[in-house]
């Protein structure tokens, strides 16, 4: 496979690499010691009112979620006009979207639900994929200090991936859970949806309820464990190699490869959960 880049792309990539390499040389020259601090810790902001589960937020998750949404909107504006003979960006997007569409079409039996399920699955795929990929490159992160404040670290940790926060993943999985039951009611009618909890006989009702609740739990914990575990592994092995920029192969394995596979699996399970309740 031959990759040919246009001139603006070359300039952009060159600038990014030059930035990383110059920071690395600066770190080597000034004798910067990479310290392992704040592993697995999050900057948590206490809202001024109240005590309780809803009174604390995780500001980096909010910020990075908005950054990734802006990134998706930016990408979508770049290929707005779809041509018959596709360019590079358009064909890349078309391949990804076509793959998701084929997955949906294979597993959903009722034709009128293919399009809405594809919209949900493709949105989730793009969001999770971009946030996993962002979490694999060194960048800016914030870790808490003892006094309740926070400290911004530059290039000694990866960018903060929103999917490494369990709240984000639980929200996505809960959304899929609610949407799958909504689709089920729409497809089968309320009566037969309610009756599906009493299959094959009425004593199985608690088992069916537990089985349904276990779906979003496993759905969200799988993504959370993979992304957060990968991030901590990159951090610890980068610490062993003393400089964070050096072990670049780790970004590739734990960030890009596992991140893409986990995004795909999250999407496939989304489609499977929704389509299993429709039939």
């Amino acid at each position: 496979m031959k990759i040919s880049l246009t001139k603006p792309d070359k300039i952009f990539l060159g600038t990014v690499f030059a930035g990383y390499i110059s920071v690395m040389i600066y770190m080597l020259v000034t004798g910067y010691k990479f310290q392992l601090e704040g592993v697995g810790q999050r900057w948590i902001y206490q809202l001024p009112f109240g005590e309780g589960p809803m009174s604390r937020i995780n500001p980096l998750t909010v910020i990075m979620t908005w950054v990734i949404m802006a990134l998706i909107i930016f990408i979508s504006t770049r290929v707005k006009v779809f041509k018959i003979i596709p360019g590079r960006k358009q064909s890349l997007l078309e391949v990804a979207m076509e793959y998701v569409y084929d997955l949906v079409e294979d597993s959903v039996s009722k034709k009128e639900f293919v399009r809405p399920i594809f919209n949900i699955a493709a949105s989730i795929f793009l969001f999770v994929l971009l946030s996993n990929i962002v979490g694999s490159f060194p960048g800016i992160n914030a870790i808490p200090t003892d006094g309740g404040g926070f400290k911004i670290t530059i290039l000694s940790d990866t960018w903060y991936a929103p999917t490494s926060d369990l709240n984000m993943n639980l929200m996505l999985a809960g959304f899929v859970f609610v949407m799958s039951h909504a689709f089920s009611i729409k497809a089968k009618g309320f009566k037969s949806w309610a009756k599906s909890f009493f299959e094959p006989a009425w004593p199985m009702f608690p088992m069916n309820v537990i089985g349904e609740i276990a779906k979003p739990v496993s759905h969200s914990l799988r993504l959370f464990g993979n992304i957060m575990g990968g991030g901590i592994l990159i951090l610890i092995i980068g610490y062993l190699a003393k400089y964070f920029i050096v072990p670049a192969a780790l970004w590739g394995i734990f960030g890009l490869f596992f991140g893409a596979i986990q995004a795909l699996i999250f999407t496939i399970l989304t489609i499977a959960y929704i389509s299993s309740l429709i039939d």
Binding site: V39, G40, L221, F224, G225, I261, I268
Partner: protein, 81 residues
């Protein structure tokens, strides 16, 4: 350091190591079986290698879920509690 604190740290580290080590047995066996079956299928039908590799990686990632759960538990023992 008091002896109680030391015992607590001992329990934390041993517990995290055991959680991760024992929890990795099941996914290891499962992924090995998936890989073996995929190899057999590839040897039988070499023209389907592309499809089989994709499906194999997907099945691997689902089989490692329980290992990921024990990783989460080990991190919780080490960092949260």
């Amino acid at each position: 350091m008091e002896i109680g604190e030391g015992l607590m740290m001992l329990g934390k580290y041993i517990g995290a190591g055991l959680a991760m080590g024992i929890g990795a047995i099941g996914p290891g066996i499962g992924e090995g079986r998936i890989g073996a079956s995929a190899m057999e299928a590839m040897a039988r039908q070499p023209e389907m290698i592309g499809t089989l590799t994709t499906r194999m990686i997907l099945a691997d990632a689902i089989a490692e879920t329980t290992g990921i759960y024990s990783l989460v538990i080990a991190f919780m023992i080490l960092l949260v509690v």
